[in-house]
């Protein structure tokens, strides 16, 4: 098992380095002068030249890349040209907000998708099955940004059931200021017992999380259905029935566990996918997460920030894949040998 894990980690590290190099190359192709952005709108030629020296832009490209790589491992991810904060600290506030959103979305997606997928597999060909299949196709075909707009207008604008945008009610900054440990509002509010913020944060989370959940829910439902149906055709299911176990036991344990393998993989993939796609949801709901940060950085040609975002996303992807591999190896002992 240990060899399995260390092998995967090594491969992952390789991929991350590759990603960094690739992004660096792309960043160097971006026209426009970062020194200008850094120096600000009222810069003179002198200040721009000084900025260039300060940012290390006068050194050869390879040196810049190596410096950057060295910097990453020592924890210095550069300074944003736009916000003038350290990129790591910017990411430290942006990433948790996105994670809050995506985790909430995936949780909703699993809670909805798993049971309905099971239901569809339990009664294949019946109306439940058809309904689940139709709704899941709609889920995976839905343009996320459009769903966001529609739900926002309907549930917030027209019916006033839920708030429109933002992490939580801004008035609470003054009345119930939140101390941040994790920078995840819901978590911090829970830890510090700040129930006013907790309530507000949760109600602000519902709408965007639902939008994020649409695609994963559809995908998970389809995946569960397909996987369970396939498992039901395998020999060991016949044996399980021959031993006297009920259909229900199959669906809650004996057929479900082997069937979960590909589903776990899909959940991880879709988590990574959703993390990247929070762009769209964050844009509509004014959510100050990774997506907004990346969009603003791209617009401003803020190379260190863009690099930071890419790096974080690549690392997340690699870590997630690793986690999936490990979970799968736990769930299915056959995998540990390969």
């Amino acid at each position: 098992m240990l060899r399995f894990v260390s092998q995967r980690v090594a491969l992952g590290a390789l991929v991350v380095v590759g990603v960094v190099a690739l992004t660096f190359v792309i960043a160097r192709v971006i026209p426009g002068d970062p020194a200008v952005t850094y120096a600000g709108p009222h810069a003179t030629a002198a200040t721009i030249a000084a900025a260039r020296r300060e940012l290390g832009l006068d050194k050869p490209v390879i040196v810049q890349l190596l410096d950057y790589l060295k910097g990453i491992f020592s924890g210095s991810w550069g300074t944003s040209y736009r916000t003038h904060h350290k990129v790591l600290s910017d990411l430290g506030t942006a990433l948790p907000a996105s994670i809050e959103l995506v985790v909430a979305g995936i949780v909703i997606a699993v809670v909805l998708g798993l049971p309905f997928g099971l239901l569809a597999a339990r009664f294949p060909g019946k109306s439940v099955d058809l309904l689940v299949r139709v709704v899941s196709v709609i889920g995976v075909s839905m343009p996320v940004f459009w769903l966001a707009l529609i739900l926002q207008r309907l549930l917030s604008g027209d019916l006033h059931w839920l708030p429109t945008a933002g992490l939580y009610n801004p008035n609470l900054y003054y009345t119930h200021p939140l101390t941040s440990y994790t920078n995840i509002p819901v978590l911090d509010a829970l830890i510090t017992g700040n129930f006013a913020v907790l309530g507000s944060a949760l109600s602000h989370l519902v709408l965007p999380a639902l939008v994020v959940a649409a695609y994963p829910a559809g995908l998970i439902a389809r995946m569960v259905r397909a996987s369970v149906l396939e498992t039901l055709g395998e020999s060991h299911v016949r044996m399980t029935r021959a031993l006297g176990f009920a259909e229900r036991a199959l669906f809650t344990r004996y057929a479900l566990r082997p069937a979960l393998n590909p589903v776990v993989q899909v959940i991880a993939l879709v988590f990574a996918y959703s993390l990247a796609n929070t762009f769209l949801v964050e844009a509509v709901f004014d959510w100050p997460g990774l997506g907004s940060y990346a969009a603003n950085s791209l617009e401003a040609l803020d190379t260190p920030a863009v690099m930071g975002v890419t790096l974080i996303v690549a690392i997340t992807y690699v870590v997630l894949n690793l986690a999936v591999d490990i979970v799968q190896a736990i769930l299915d002992p056959r995998i540990r040998v390969s």
């Binding site: 395998e234 020999s235 060991h236 016949r238 044996m239 399980t240 029935r241 021959a242 031993l243 006297g244 176990f245 009920a246 004996y254 566990r257 082997p258 769930l331 299915d332 002992p333 056959r334 040998v337």
Partner: protein
């Protein structure tokens, strides 16, 4: 326990695939059901444990276990019987065990399903393993860590531990090496001798059946074309299909009989 089948009809949709007028497995008897693939022998054995319907087939006729009519049972009653009175073992023994559970885990759960306590179940499982000449240590393994022969012994051990009276064996040795095959066959004979289990042995291999079964029933296209005591039937087959099967058995030292 005896199994008496009369007027059994099994089909899928419009197609009738099995039409058996009579088939009997007496108490403590080993009966062979022989036929090629597609003859309907496998679905017949599934019907005898009530699993033909979950394979999509319809079943009509009479199946009596010691006089009790099984075709009128509901699903809950069938579930009590399965494993407990009637057990089944399959081809591909390793794939027939749930891959994500340790073998002993499934074993114990099956025993507890039929009423044993955890301690009883563990005890009976270990004892059954010894009876089939396997170390109880193997219960800690996963199915893919067992050989085909070992896995099939485990399946038989489960039948023994559950105290099944009838064993339906669907091609249990077809996927095994010849030497391992012989061991499994010997094990089945011992189970009959020591526990008095009645066995329906389904196979396409007449040579295997010849060495094991008291009586044999030959199946072709869903119907039983010949039946009788093994030695007599195979020595002097009356039906042309049986004659063909017998003629095809390879013999040492020469061509066919």
């Amino acid at each position: 326990m005896s199994l008496i089948v009369r007027e059994l009809r099994i089909g899928f949709g419009e197609r009738t695939v099995v039409e058996i007028d009579e088939l009997q497995v007496g108490d403590g008897e080993i009966v062979g059901l022989v036929g090629e693939s597609g003859s309907g022998k496998s679905v017949t054995s599934l019907a005898l444990i009530g699993l033909a319907r979950s394979a999509g087939a319809w079943v009509e006729g009479s199946i009596q276990l010691d006089g009790r009519e099984l075709t009128s049972l509901d699903e809950a009653q069938w579930r009590q019987l399965r494993g407990d009175r009637i057990a089944m073992i399959f081809q591909s023994p390793v794939s027939s065990l749930n891959p994500v559970f340790r073998v002993g885990d499934l074993f114990v759960r099956a025993l507890r399903l039929h009423g044993a306590t955890k301690a009883e179940a563990r005890d009976r499982a270990a004892r059954a393993m010894r009876e089939v000449v396997l170390s109880p240590e193997l219960l800690r393994r996963y199915p893919h860590q067992l050989s085909g022969g070992q896995a099939q012994r485990v399946a038989i051990a489960m039948a023994v531990a559950l105290r099944a009276r009838v064993l339906l064996a669907d091609e249990p040795t077809s996927a095994l090496d010849v030497t391992v095959q012989a061991e499994i066959l010997e094990l089945i004979q011992r189970m009959r001798r020591e526990e008095g289990i009645s066995v329906l042995f389904v196979s396409h291999d007449l040579a295997v059946v010849a060495g094991l079964c008291d009586r044999v029933a030959i199946m072709q296209s869903g119907q039983i074309v010949e039946t009788g005591p093994t030695a007599a039937t195979l020595r002097a087959p009356t039906h042309p299909y049986t004659q063909g099967l017998v003629a095809a058995i390879p013999r040492l030292g020469g061509t066919h009989a």
